[in-house]
Structures are given as C-alpha cells and as structure tokens.
C-alpha cells in the first residue's frame, strides 16, 4: 500500500474537519508521491451540478498544483457513491475525515466511516475527533500500531513496519491488557490474547523481532480499559498516526456499525487496515502470532 502506485481518495463534504485534514493529506501525498483524487458526492435534489463543481474546485485549491491530482464529482447517496468509486480503484487508500462535532447528541446518526469500513476492503484513514475551528495537531516521526488479539492478523502490523521503515519514524507497538474481573474467565473463549503482563511482553517482543527492520521500535503495554488507556498511550508516545486492524475500529451498534468509542476521542490520524489472509503475511510473524493462540 505504501508505494507510488497507491491512489489516495480524499472523500469530502467540505466540512471543517475536511479542511483541518488538509495538512495531513498533503503529507500523505508528499510521502507516498502518489495520485490524489478529491471526491465529492452531492445530492442532486439539494444542489445543482455547477454549484457542486464550483465548491469542489475551490476546496483544497492548492492540490491543483500537485503532480497528480484530479477531482471527481458524483451525484447520489454518499455511502453508495464513495463505495462504488473506491471499488473501481486498485491499491486505494480512502481518506475520510469525521463529521464536525457539534457537541449535541446524535441518537439517529449513522456513521459513514463505519459503513465504508464494513463495505470496502481497502485501508481507510480518518481522524478520531476534530472540533470545528480547532487546528489539527501535527507531529512527525512517531507511529503507533495497536495489537489487540492474535486473531486480528498481522496485516496492519506489517504495513506499519513498512511505513515506519520508509519514513524513518519510531514505531510504537501498543497493547492493552484487559482488566481482571469476572469476565476474565470467559475472555479466553473469545480470544487467544494474553492476559498476563509477561506473556504479553513476550508476544509483543516476538512479533517485533519478525518485523521489517525499523530504525527505532518501542513496546508499550498497559492494563485497563482500552477507551481510557489508548489516548494516554498515544499521548505518551507522541505518535500522530495510529494503525489498527479494521475489525477493532468498528463496533456493532443498534442502528448499524459505528466507530468504536475507544478511537473516537483520539485527536490523531487513524489508519484502519483490513484483515488479509494469513498466507500472505510474513511466515515468521505468523508463527509468533500462532504461538500465542496455541
């Protein structure tokens, strides 16, 4: 994914969150030297084509000076339009910022990002949380990857290592152990994830050894709720991008899939990578993972 053949698709509704994401998108384009498509899906009942086109051409205007940038306007339903366009592209990375946080509860809100993550088998980059009018914090040189369970595969871990090796960033492997309570006994039924600190440390270190060599690698393990520990870990590492498995990013909701609460409060970029078959992964890495499961 992290190569010049990658195709960045920046889906926008011209919200403040989309504007706030522009520096991060520019950095993706600069690092990967790849093609950028700015995609807008408009509702033809609310907006004329020429007005939608005018808005699209003025949004992220500096991208017209980028080496390979095009703008695509589609009419219809946003989720359908984005999904249909992305399916036609190969080696695509979808950049999809969140909607603006108005501060009001949205009980009937259906998450477009969660729908896209469920529908598409491509990596999706997004932001945890943006406030209208607030600039997005931008750091550089630190990259975090969240390992939750051995079952989630290693695709995101390999991509993170490749990206860190390419950019010279420090790679932080994050793992949060579950709290010890009455649910602990049933935990092993659902997952082969380690419950003790020593096992988790051993697991993480084994995986670290099997990765593509990176300049600096650090392992961080904490115990507690993921929702509380993840923002603290991200703050401590100073990472501006978290790479996670797609399945851990989406939680089932009563109105459809939604973004897991643990990720919603993060103010960094999040890259959700879909699970790929184990056969395509690094065999050493796969052995390290299966050792824990067994």
């Amino acid at each position: 994914m992290f190569d010049q053949n990658c195709h960045l698709i920046f889906a926008t509704n011209f919200s403040d969150a989309c504007h706030a994401a522009i520096p991060a998108v520019a950095r993706w384009v600069d690092q990967l030297h790849c093609r950028l498509t700015i995609l807008h899906v408009y509702d033809p009942e609310k907006l004329l084509y020429r007005d939608a086109e005018r808005l699209l051409n003025s949004f992220f205007a500096e991208a017209n000076n980028y080496p390979a940038c095009d703008r695509v306007l589609i009419s219809g339903d946003a989720a359908e339009g984005i999904a249909a366009y992305c399916r036609k592209q190969s080696n695509a990375l979808l950049l999809l910022p969140p909607t603006d946080q108005a501060g009001l509860p949205r009980p009937w809100h259906k998450s477009l990002r969660a729908q896209m993550l469920k529908r598409l088998d491509i990596p999706v980059w997004t932001l945890g949380r943006t406030m209208v009018g607030s600039p997005m914090p931008l750091a550089a040189g630190h990259l975090a990857v969240l390992m939750r369970t051995p079952e989630e595969g290693t695709a995101h871990l390999r991509q993170a290592a490749r990206y860190a090796a390419r950019t010279g960033a420090t790679l932080h492997l994050l793992h949060v152990l579950p709290e010890i309570d009455e649910r602990t006994l049933t935990h092993t039924i659902d997952s082969g994830a380690p419950l003790g600190l020593e096992t988790a440390t051993h697991w993480m270190n084994e995986m670290a050894e099997c990765l593509e060599p990176v300049e600096r690698l650090q392992v961080h393990i904490e115990r507690g709720s993921l929702r509380k520990q993840l923002p603290e870990l991200m703050h401590r590492t100073g990472a501006d991008l978290l790479i996670a498995n797609r399945e851990s990013f989406v939680a089932p909701g009563w109105l459809g899939p939604s973004i897991s609460r643990a990720f919603r409060s993060l103010r960094t970029g999040i890259l959700a990578i879909p699970h790929t078959p184990a056969s395509s992964s690094n065999p050493d890495l796969q052995r390290a993972v299966s050792a824990v499961i067994s």
Binding site: H19, A20, I22, P23, D30, R54, S58, E62, G103, P135
Partner: protein, 307 residues
C-alpha cells in the same frame, strides 16, 4: 475568512455548550431554591451587577480589539505580499536583459516568485509545501529545498543568488539590482511579520483574565436577579451569559489568523491570485516566457468561507 453574512450557531455552540449547560443547571437551582423553597437569603440583591458588567465589557472590548488587530495586520501583510510580488515580477521581466542566460534567469526568478507565497502559506499553516514546489519549480529544485527548515527564506536566498548571477553576467546594472533587492527585503520583512504573529500569542493576561471574569459574572448573575425575576431567572441569566461567552469565544478565535481555520487570512486564495497574475505577466510580456500551462482559476468561497 468568513464572507457570508450569517454565522451558523454551530460555530460557537461546540465551545459554549458545556459552560452554558452548567450555568443553566445552576440558574435553575437558584430559581427553585429562591422561589419554590422560599430560601430568600440566597439572593444578592445588592450586588452591583451593572457596574460589574460594564467593567467586564471594557475587558472584553480590549481583548477583542487586540485580537482584531492581529487579524487585520495579517490581512494587510498578505495584501502587501500581493503588491510586492507583482512589483518584483515586473522588475524581473523588464529589468533583466535577454543576452545569454538572461531568459533562463528571468524564468527561474519568476517561478521562484510564484513559489514563495505557496511556501509561506504552507510554512505558516505547518503544511508540507513540497508537492506544490515540485510542480512549480521542478523536482530537482524542490529536492534541494528539502534540506531547509524555513523554505520561504531559502527561496529568497535562491532568488538572491539568481540575481547575483545576473549581476555577474552584466544583465542588470547596480541601480536595477538595488531596486530588486529592496523588494526582496520587503518580502523577507513580510515573512518575518507573519512569523511574529504566528509565534507570539496574545499576552496570556489578555486571554485568561476576561475568561475568568466572564465565568465569575455568569455565576453571580442569577443570584443578583433572582429577587426580581423569580422562576424566569434561568432564561434571562442564560441569555445574558451566552452573550458574554460568545463575545469571549469569538475574540479568542480571530486572534490566530494562520491556524488553518475559518478565521484564517485567506492565504490559499491570495497565493492563487499571485500565481495567476504572475503567470499572466510571463505569458503576455513583450518577451514572453515559457511556463508550464496549468488550468488554474480563482479560489471561490466554499460554503461561505475562503481559505
């Protein structure tokens, strides 16, 4: 920059709702304790709310003026950048002779001049300028600039070197060289002034004290008016509190004009204007220069905001 007449409530609401909700609960509690439970000692009827509000208004006005001063200075600096860029481009086109390397030097100087506003905008917004610079200046030049932390300053140095080369080749005389160098110094001064605004926040006392005073005032207000308004206290108190909180928030937001928000100086639109003007000058000059043709248009407002 906001160009629409109407500012939607959602611009203020995310920052104000928590404070307002807490105050509304407090106001309701005060009204119930006073009017329903009959505990009248809670009323501070003698509290001089009006003079307090006047004092607070002076504080807020002072801060708003200071914030607006920063915002307006930023806009003036970018206006000055537009003018200086055009003037300098005219000098490059008309004052450098054509002999030998003249045309190449003129073209390079013009492209550097086009690149400068883009680089300065990205520098102020902490955005990478290199994808744009690769297109404007070429991959080789852009790669060379990657070694610099301050890319716009490096561009000025490059332009100075190109001018020096023109002087060595006798393509400009000393008078013309001095005239062009003065305008390049103006560019450096504009950059320095923008960096000063970006890196020097409003004095913390200006920012912190009004916020604390607004909070104190909003908490005292229901205690002072409950005697007169009774159960209507929450409505009046919340509305008055909202006015002060909104004034407090809005003045804080315009204090930082280079943060990639809706309150920014419209640097993307202005740098596009400069590029369009300069490319037009290159094309329509008596001695037209070859430049990569790009289909660029003016940047229009997007949903009422120009960036």
């Amino acid at each position: 920059m906001i160009v629409t007449d109407r500012i939607p409530l959602k611009r203020i609401w995310p920052f104000a709702w928590k404070r307002l909700l807490v105050l509304l609960i407090f106001d309701c509690t005060v009204a119930v304790i006073y009017s329903v439970l009959g505990y009248h000692k809670i009323s501070l009827n003698g509290l001089p709310v009006a003079p307090l509000a006047s004092a607070l208004t002076i504080f807020l006005a002072f801060r708003t003026n200071a914030a607006y001063g920063r915002w307006w200075e930023a806009r003036q600096l970018w206006g000055s950048l537009v003018n200086t860029s055009r003037a300098l481009a005219r000098q490059f086109l008309t004052m450098i002779d054509d002999d030998g390397e003249g045309e190449t030097l003129r073209r390079n100087l013009m492209l550097h001049m086009i690149a400068f506003p883009h680089a300065l905008r990205c520098h102020l917004r902490k955005q990478t300028p290199f994808p744009e610079l690769e297109t404007v200046l070429g991959k080789e030049q852009a790669a060379h600039l990657r070694g610099y932390n301050n890319v716009p300053a490096a561009l000025l140095v490059h332009m100075g070197n190109l001018l020096r080369r023109a002087k060595q080749l006798d393509l400009v005389d000393s008078y013309r060289w001095v005239a062009m160098d003065e305008n390049m110094t103006t560019l450096a001064n504009i950059q320095g002034a923008c960096e000063r605004i970006k890196n020097t926040p409003l004095p913390r006392q200006f920012d912190y004290l009004p916020r604390i005073l607004v909070d104190v005032f909003c908490w005292l207000l229901p205690l002072a008016i409950v005697d007169d308004l009774g159960l209507m206290t929450p409505i009046a108190s919340t509305l008055i509190s909202f006015t002060f909180i909104a004034a407090d928030l809005m003045s804080r937001e315009i204090a930082n004009p280079f943060e990639n928000t809706i309150h920014d100086t419209p640097m993307t639109a202005l740098s596009r204007t400069i590029e369009l003007n300069l490319r037009e000058q290159m094309r329509l000059d008596e001695r037209p220069l070859q430049a990569p043709s790009r289909s660029l248009g003016d940047v229009q407002p997007v949903e009422g905001f120009v960036f």
